[in-house]
């Protein structure tokens, strides 16, 4: 029981600063940045946007917990998916801290460092490009009711999860939504008459509570997993490439370790093949228990499934094939 409570406490305390930072940045975007300003700042072309998203983590490093609320806000503000989603998936890995941690954990093994960056970039690019055509707000679970969307008079009908977003029946509906959601965030916080600083604080509180509940659920699951699984249970899988890669990916999913620390844990599984360790460090920052809960809450079901299944399939395939070639 002590291990469970300690693990849950540790996971929460470790992730809380980054979640809070994400909530704070998201709130600053919401309160201080007008809708069109951010859109204008973004690169126009898809390829350029993709590269921008991949490289943004080098300048705005965030962990996987903190990046989700930021990206939710970016998408609401109209930032294209090839920028926002690519940033969300790649920033936890393609940033100076994680790259350095990977280098140290694997004792200067550049193949592991480059493999991690390359595989994460590949997953992020695939998803970014695949979803590039969709209106950013429509990726979000609450996108259909977003006042930003209504104000912009979004015309095209993009059925995502079977929802047609232009079903605003009369002016009264639009007015009601706009009034209820105050400054447009939809979280119910901050009356517009408050000063901007107070708005940011209230918004941050609401965003932290909103995302924090998924972090807690993830942390509880991680704690449970930690007390149930002993290392020797993994022994039968380490000699089969087919199973080793899968097991390490499952482990990355359930352990939900922060991207900046997971390389050290992966390196400790020295009996597993290198490609299995690679699959561990590439999947974890994109898909784990905490993130699945957050994806499910933020994105529409199909988008959330895409964010989960594409990395799982791609990482498994590449790791397995690379393992076969190395053998």
């Amino acid at each position: 029981m002590q291990l469970f409570t300690s693990t849950v406490t540790a996971v929460f305390l470790e992730a809380a600063p980054f979640l809070l930072l994400g909530a704070l940045i998201s709130s600053v975007f919401e309160v201080y940045l007008p809708q069109d300003r951010l859109e204008k700042l973004m690169p126009k072309g898809r390829l350029l946007g993709l590269l921008f998203g991949l490289g943004a983590g080098m300048f705005i490093p965030t962990c996987e917990c903190g990046v989700v609320p930021i990206v939710r806000r970016l998408l609401k503000k109209g930032v294209p998916p090839q920028v926002a989603l690519t940033y969300m998936l790649s920033a936890p890995v393609i940033n100076p801290l994680t790259i350095l941690a990977t280098y140290i954990a694997f004792r200067g093994n550049m193949w592991m460092v480059l493999g991690r960056i390359g595989l994460v970039a590949a997953c992020a690019s695939c998803i970014g490009l695949a979803l590039a055509r969709i209106n950013p707000a429509l990726l979000l679970r609450d996108g259909a009711s977003s006042p930003d969307l209504i104000i912009h008079g979004h015309e095209e009908c993009c059925p995502v999860d079977g929802v047609h977003v232009h079903h605003i029946h009369d002016v009264q509906d639009v007015h009601h939504v706009g009034h209820d959601l105050a400054h447009g965030c939809g979280c119910g916080c901050a009356a517009p008459q408050e000063s901007r600083l107070i708005q940011v604080l209230l918004h941050t509180a609401s965003e932290f509570l909103d995302m924090g509940k998924f972090l807690i659920l993830g942390a509880l699951a991680v704690g449970l997993f930690k007390i149930l699984l002993f290392q020797d249970a993994l022994e039968p899988f380490q000699n089969s490439l087919f199973l080793a890669v899968g097991v390490m990916m499952l482990l990355a999913f359930f352990l939900s370790i922060c991207a900046q620390a997971d390389a050290f844990v992966a390196a400790s599984f020295s009996a597993f093949p290198g490609v299995a360790q690679l699959s561990f460090v590439t999947l974890g920052p994109m898909v784990d228990l905490k993130l699945v809960a957050m994806y499910g809450a933020v994105f529409r079901t199909r988008i959330a499934l895409t964010l989960i299944l594409v990395p799982v399939a791609l990482i498994y395939l590449v790791s397995f094939l690379a393992g076969m070639v190395i053998r």
């Binding site: 029981m1 002590q2 291990l3 409570t5 300690s6 693990t7 849950v8 406490t9 540790a10 996971v11 929460f12 305390l13 470790e14 809380a16 600063p17 809070l20 704070l24 941690a101 004792r107 979280c187 119910g188 916080c189 901050a190 009356a191 408050e194 107070i198 604080l201 209230l202 941050t204 509180a205 609401s206 932290f208 509570l209 909103d210 924090g212 509940k213 807690i216 659920l217 942390a219 509880l220 991680v222 704690g223 930690k226 699984l229 002993f230 290392q231 020797d232 022994e235 352990l255 939900s256 370790i257 922060c258 900046q260 620390a261 997971d262 050290f264 844990v265 400790s268 599984f269 020295s270």
Partner: protein, 287 residues
């Protein structure tokens, strides 16, 4: 009702922030996270309290019972964790169970009859519980029985011997760790000496260590803290999966190629900070 729920949401944030501050002040922070992140948690705690107060004074008009419930579960877990620490402290304050041993015959064929345990020259001189020492206070090397030993922690030694440089094998080392035994290791007259390494938080911790050769396994019990002086030699045996079931160390990595051959073993109490938080690659090591 909505207003009350909104106020509760603010108060929850305030309480979490206050908990983090108290955790830092209580000196128990290291039990969950690497102390190098203390400043980060402190800043987070202050911001959480600030937004908590603001949210309580200007309650959200869309409070959620679901998130209140989940955050209340978190508060219960935080409280349980705190109570667990208090209980652990009481257990850990008990004196060590083992007796000091010296002149180990490890690495030699097992004797037909067990020799009597030698009197340890440091028994009665070394305190039962080593006084707290910060790495900066310690000399990088120590003289024991006329021999010089490099102070190093198990994770540093583990990293050093992943790809050992020439000259490292001749060096004598002193390390501290916890004994873990299993039938498979017993058959080789070895036990595992491990120590938890925490890079960020407890969730990413794992045990790093070496096998220690000893023909007096009966003197060592699971969970016992030891200070081991000795040298490393290439293992004659392939490392079997040791099948260790360690309650608070679910993942561990024993060096496969090298075994610690002790010249002296001293049972010690649990150090004030039993985890390894820092790994250096050259002297002075963090120990």
């Amino acid at each position: 009702m909505k207003k009350v729920a909104g106020i509760i949401e603010g108060l929850i944030l305030l309480v979490i922030g206050a908990y983090a501050v108290l955790l830092i002040l209580s000196g128990n922070y290291w039990r969950f996270l690497n102390p190098k992140f203390t400043w980060l948690t402190a800043v987070t705690a202050i911001v959480l309290m600030l937004i908590g107060i603001t949210a309580a004074l200007k309650p959200n008009n869309k409070p959620s019972l679901a998130r209140i419930s989940i955050f209340l579960v978190l508060l219960i877990v935080l409280l349980s964790g705190h109570l667990g620490i208090t209980a652990h402290k009481q257990i850990a304050s008990k004196p060590p169970v083992g007796k000091p041993l010296s002149g180990q015959l490890s690495g030699q064929p097992p004797p037909q009859s067990k020799p009597p345990v030698e009197e340890d020259p440091f028994a009665g001189i070394l305190p039962q519980k080593l006084p707290p020492q910060s790495p900066a206070d310690q000399a990088p090397r120590v003289i024991m029985d006329g021999q010089e030993y490099v102070r190093i922690n198990l994770a540093e030694l583990y990293i050093l011997f992943k790809s050992p440089q020439p000259g490292k094998l001749e060096q004598r080392y002193v390390v501290r760790g916890i004994v873990h035994r299993s039938k498979r290791l017993d058959r080789l007259q070895q036990f595992a000496l491990l120590r938890n390494v925490v890079f960020c938080c407890l969730a990413d911790s794992f045990g790093a260590g070496f096998r220690v050769q000893s023909d007096r396994l009966d003197k060592f019990a699971d969970g016992q803290w030891l200070e081991v002086y000795g040298t490393l030699k290439r293992s004659a045996h392939q490392l079997p999966d040791p099948h260790l079931h360690i309650e608070d160390m679910r993942y561990y990595d024993l060096n496969e190629s090298y075994v610690l051959v002790p010249s002296k073993i001293i049972p010690i109490s649990e150090p004030d900070e039993p985890y390894i938080f820092e790994c250096r690659t050259s002297e002075p090591f963090a120990y």
